[in-house]
Symmetry: D3
Subunit: 318 residues, 6 copies
Amino acid sequence: MSDPFFHPVSGLELPRFAGVPSFMRLPVVPPGHDRFADVDIGVIGVPWDSGTTNRPGPRHGPRQLRDASTMIRAENGATGVRPFEVVNCADLGDVAPNPADIADSMARITAFYEQVKVAGIRPLTAGGDHLSSLPILRALAKDGPLGMIHFDSHTDFFHSYFGGQMYTHGTPFRRAVEEGLLDPKRVIQIGIRGTAYDTEDKDFARANGVRLVEIEEFFARGIPDVMAEAREVAGGRPTYVSYDIDFVDPAFAPGTGTPEVGGPNSFQALCVARELAGVDIAGADLVEVSPPFDASGGTAFLGVSIMFEMLCAMTGKG
Amino acid sequence: MSDPFFHPVSGLELPRFAGVPSFMRLPVVPPGHDRFADVDIGVIGVPWDSGTTNRPGPRHGPRQLRDASTMIRAENGATGVRPFEVVNCADLGDVAPNPADIADSMARITAFYEQVKVAGIRPLTAGGDHLSSLPILRALAKDGPLGMIHFDSHTDFFHSYFGGQMYTHGTPFRRAVEEGLLDPKRVIQIGIRGTAYDTEDKDFARANGVRLVEIEEFFARGIPDVMAEAREVAGGRPTYVSYDIDFVDPAFAPGTGTPEVGGPNSFQALCVARELAGVDIAGADLVEVSPPFDASGGTAFLGVSIMFEMLCAMTGKG
Amino acid sequence: MSDPFFHPVSGLELPRFAGVPSFMRLPVVPPGHDRFADVDIGVIGVPWDSGTTNRPGPRHGPRQLRDASTMIRAENGATGVRPFEVVNCADLGDVAPNPADIADSMARITAFYEQVKVAGIRPLTAGGDHLSSLPILRALAKDGPLGMIHFDSHTDFFHSYFGGQMYTHGTPFRRAVEEGLLDPKRVIQIGIRGTAYDTEDKDFARANGVRLVEIEEFFARGIPDVMAEAREVAGGRPTYVSYDIDFVDPAFAPGTGTPEVGGPNSFQALCVARELAGVDIAGADLVEVSPPFDASGGTAFLGVSIMFEMLCAMTGKG
Amino acid sequence: MSDPFFHPVSGLELPRFAGVPSFMRLPVVPPGHDRFADVDIGVIGVPWDSGTTNRPGPRHGPRQLRDASTMIRAENGATGVRPFEVVNCADLGDVAPNPADIADSMARITAFYEQVKVAGIRPLTAGGDHLSSLPILRALAKDGPLGMIHFDSHTDFFHSYFGGQMYTHGTPFRRAVEEGLLDPKRVIQIGIRGTAYDTEDKDFARANGVRLVEIEEFFARGIPDVMAEAREVAGGRPTYVSYDIDFVDPAFAPGTGTPEVGGPNSFQALCVARELAGVDIAGADLVEVSPPFDASGGTAFLGVSIMFEMLCAMTGKG
Amino acid sequence: MSDPFFHPVSGLELPRFAGVPSFMRLPVVPPGHDRFADVDIGVIGVPWDSGTTNRPGPRHGPRQLRDASTMIRAENGATGVRPFEVVNCADLGDVAPNPADIADSMARITAFYEQVKVAGIRPLTAGGDHLSSLPILRALAKDGPLGMIHFDSHTDFFHSYFGGQMYTHGTPFRRAVEEGLLDPKRVIQIGIRGTAYDTEDKDFARANGVRLVEIEEFFARGIPDVMAEAREVAGGRPTYVSYDIDFVDPAFAPGTGTPEVGGPNSFQALCVARELAGVDIAGADLVEVSPPFDASGGTAFLGVSIMFEMLCAMTGKG
Amino acid sequence: MSDPFFHPVSGLELPRFAGVPSFMRLPVVPPGHDRFADVDIGVIGVPWDSGTTNRPGPRHGPRQLRDASTMIRAENGATGVRPFEVVNCADLGDVAPNPADIADSMARITAFYEQVKVAGIRPLTAGGDHLSSLPILRALAKDGPLGMIHFDSHTDFFHSYFGGQMYTHGTPFRRAVEEGLLDPKRVIQIGIRGTAYDTEDKDFARANGVRLVEIEEFFARGIPDVMAEAREVAGGRPTYVSYDIDFVDPAFAPGTGTPEVGGPNSFQALCVARELAGVDIAGADLVEVSPPFDASGGTAFLGVSIMFEMLCAMTGKG
């Protein structure tokens, strides 16, 4: 059972539209806080989008996700899990990026997550663009390469952009494999679709043993079957979960920079996260929520609903 | 056959964007009008949201629903029913609420619907938040408890909010059962989902014999099967139909105060209403449309499309 | 293999948000340009909505579709087709309509497409409202009536509107059959739904041998089965493809003037276009995208994604 | 004193967001109604925009203006005038246009206003695009040419568009002068600004004695001085008032099709209408409100606030 | 000089879009916090709108104002005042309202502000609707009636609504005078305008010695003159400042429930607050910001800019 | 007189909503085009915002500005200047930035403008964030430091951000002075306002002889007086004009990343540009238009209206 200090504020006491908005109304416990060491799962914002090659905006994601997250209540209606009672959860605050320097920002992110890892906290991240995952993995994979279950419409396995730029939101997992942070044979990517410049990314992925589940296969087989395979790929060993909101169809998640039509609906978006139960999740992220492209906040609300499902899975009670 | 007085204005005579917008372009026949007694089905607005515990707005619902309803034509494309030719339909106007007094507003609503019931008119209501259903039921259940087919993502069976508030949009059906307005054994709730504070509402419902069809069961069994059960629960006796627009996924119906992702799409939203054919409908409502959260009006257009399906079902020709 | 002159600008050289936006970043080659004769497939804008009986706006469609189309890349992720390498594609510019004269505008459109046809270019049109298809067909059907595969929620087979108006976006195919531009026995309409004034349109269509696939049948049978029938109806002879964006559910395509809820999702919207592979496509259009009703541009992005699928099918490599 | 039948519904009885929205909550008294002959000032909608050469939308103006008008109360805060108590006011409904035929629509409008004029009712019109003023003037100027006070950023005095189109929203007053409906020496145009193709319109206007007050002069002299001149130009004889919402700066009135930056603010927009007091107003209109370009409704609210000021001036108590 | 604990986070360290959003990035120091007693000026949210008679939404105001307030920097560019270095400022959190009970909510607000007053903290409130000012005044006027400088387009001096409702956002200052919380002879209201039902409110105000500056007088005299009078009315004794955002023209502040066109611009909106320097401010509020009517947040940003000016004035360094 | 090749397409031939949108409908003549050498004034897009420290988006500016610019006609209504007939104007296309590398992007921009300068073309730039001005100045100031007339709410004279970042949109003119590109004694900044971290920027500016006109002085003196001083500061020698759209009040120009309330209105925004007539303009830019924060496009329309005024001033006919 969790410590009551880490219980979120209830909407029956303080209405959900009221109060300073922390993630899921959890206490704010940044590094240095005297309860930091007691946190089991820490929700962290990475307000950064310098890796974006097309339409920027995810730097505003954590702010809007915190706002929307105050709509989340205590219990998972589908599974009955009450995560905040099972483990100590907290909002660890945001990493401070340097909007004008990619390398410096990545160093800051890695340093933040190293503190988290040292404290034994498993991070649940609200991005930020997808390049964020790379400096996070640099901190989390200290003990060896991780597996990864990756929901996305893009592989993010490209070599480089714009004449040699190695660090963009289209390249993080290429770097992660090159740097030994991910074991490509324990990586599965689900939902890949859309037009492409070429297949250089898929060729690299497949050549290294990554399992690609394109959207046609995903719809044809169904979620239980695909997710059973995902759990098998993860193999019961420490696995990172990376969830790009553009996995979901843009009618359900318009607030993102590189949407691809023809994706899953919101029920499917939740179900794949729910099916993570049983995976040994070393950390998880929800990235590419871009508020300027969805002023209504519907994308953020879906995003935090997915984060809540991932959090439930991370409790081990999924 | 209906009286031509009650036929809506055709878009081929006056374009659909023109004219003072009444519900489905029907004549406006409020209580006291000399044709009031001739109405069979009356469409009524309840512009009231004082029961809202989270994001207000449904007080603006009837206005926007009337506007959107001018897009509705004469014939149901799927079933061929032409409801305005079958029965006398009219726009009965809006109940005047008291925005600053919940009890007074409820009394005004009940009084309005008592006039409607006495005149032998079956009401089709455009809410308003879900607390609206309670004062309506108080008028309609004079002859004994009604059954109810209820589409929603929430049960609305909670006991109270905020330290004892008995009358909110989360409690109407708890009150209705307590007051003997509903026979809980003839109540079915379809579409329940989302996070929860606890299961006190579901516990009460189940303990009293209410049938809960949560969203996972709904998708697994399919609409024909679920709706066959719904008709069986209704049991051929007078039944109220209550349709909360948040039953539908927020990508299709963003304009509502307490959305829950992972719901039915618009085709499913229409089909469940179409499958009401054969039910002895004592009255029906469509509630929780909140225009401030959907300036584009898409939610309202879906709402009136659902209302038209319910109207067709109410004609007995479904 | 295509001439490199006709290759689109790559987003890896000039980011996709940059540059003067032509359709799919193709070269602009209007009639009179010295490479006009070398074009195989020409993308053409028809910025015209004088046939609109309800909510206007499609005159702005080509502008927004060009903007969104700069997000399209070189290769179809599902099929591997790289259309711009297979045939010479170009943006042929917009037809200049006369917003204040329907007959003059139709004459201008027909004259433009006659130039296109004479040059041996197959047109892919971005409308414009659905009346646009009529003057296009007048140019394309010079050699005899065409077949048609038509995706829409409406038949557009009405006789007239508003006391005798023969030329509106609800009547183009009635005129096309009357004028011998379409062979009704080789016409199939898919997705028909929504409320109706009467069945005069469907009666005419069926009496002339048109195949109507209403939305209930579409969902019940599934896309492979329906599209196999469509290819059979087309019969291996020259066929026009007309795609009204209101075929798609308004949650996915809100930017249109006469939406009908309960339609296909975006994955289905793409798949039906992909299944056109093998049809002898004499020309194709995507009509009724109305930017004023979708400022976010999501409808336009879906629209150009569909256009890209149709383009792939037109290459014969589908 | 006015007949209580013609008093609007008070927001203290029925909240302003409730009820079927008629203009300023007045009774709906269309031609044929048994109280039609008792109306002094009739508010009329002209939902028509076929004269629009650029961005359409004003056909939706009357609907949105009616909605916004329910915010208007009984008394002019600045002058103390209570117009609804002074004269009998009513909502006369909308003219039914023919969206596909300009000439037919103009004939319908003229016919409607002839009924109004015969009944001795002075019309206050909610457009519609500016071409609407021409068929209205044809009905009102039966007894001889009228003067006109015209607020606009454009003169609307062009000869023709698109190769000879004589009837567009840029030409109504050229036609009105040619047809003898306006006495150009009693016409003043206020607020003219923006880029131009040429000065053919201004040349015609000035050659015929029209007084043009361009925006620089307007700001330099101030409203009292300019409006004193306007009253002098009107000359105490019957005068039409035509108010194009694009007179106002687009920050205050974005919902219009041909905005021109650099215009008056909302206080100035009201003041010029207030300064009409004392003019013998034969009729007035507020045109070019285009809801698709202002979903928030701010333009419509400003529009009805201006209409209320014009109505006060029309009572002769202004 | 202030205690560094109370300095806001700088945007040069943590970008302004990052971090948990507290008011002006100040530390969150709710009642009970161990630094509570050290606060000089406390910013408080009152997320409550149950007094709204028309369009609800201000319950969401504090959330959006906090978000926008992270754009505010350390120094007033016009005056050079650096308020956070002069006095200890903090975000005291939100009062927990009871959305379903007006009386209970008012009691909760008064209780919260009594704690604040007892601690010697001067409150700067982010509403909430205008009824919020009444329970605040009940706490602050313990030592005798206060003066008030009130910016608004409405007097809020009505007796009651809807058949006797005494507590709405149109009545707070009537109650405050009746209860002896305000000395009407030391009250000035600035900006009054718009249509009215009657003059009952103004009659009461004037009969009791309140000074009303209607908008025409405001513009005619100019800000320095009007504000000199305001300071004179306040008389050097404790004075409350109440700023309804609808004082400002809706082009600058669309996000409010009862807008009135023809108001001041944003420069004027700031200047009147700046001219409060020298007033003995017992407390201040900024009310009626309604985010659902301004998704872009421009109203909130203007609101917090005004709050910052009021804060500067409250430091005594204005 | 200009060459007809360089005349824009008229809206009387091709309606303004039609056609591929180039700047002001001018021909597209990029470097390498065979008419490049004949261009006098070239409009150039710089779709780049990597210098943005707060809310990104100006990379989308050129696209939306081109779209809005098709509303601009041939003649300046206030001055009668017809710029396209006086000099040869063309759209030179966009510079290709590298979104992931600031230094590389700046080099690309400088290289592009060097080509422009060598060809004797004076550039009118559509940004892009304000850092864009620095690489442009590097190309234009080859012959010695330029003067500058600068409209902005910020000085952009800061030394660095985020721990030493020298190249952001807050630092370009600090660098330009340091690099000898600007003569600070011939620099005037107009419109400065808003909150600040400190006065380090203003201190540097003033210490180097820059003339700062803060917004209070601007409003107090009026445009003719301020702009006469600006022309005097420019001193009849080559001068750069830099216009940040956030000079204008955000009610008129919401689409920008760092708005400051309390600025000029749109009439004033145009007038200051008109008063540039007589200045020896070596180049001009309009920067910081951020479409994601203004989906309606009103900011872009104001932006291109300002660009048109600057273009008129650049013709020497002002």
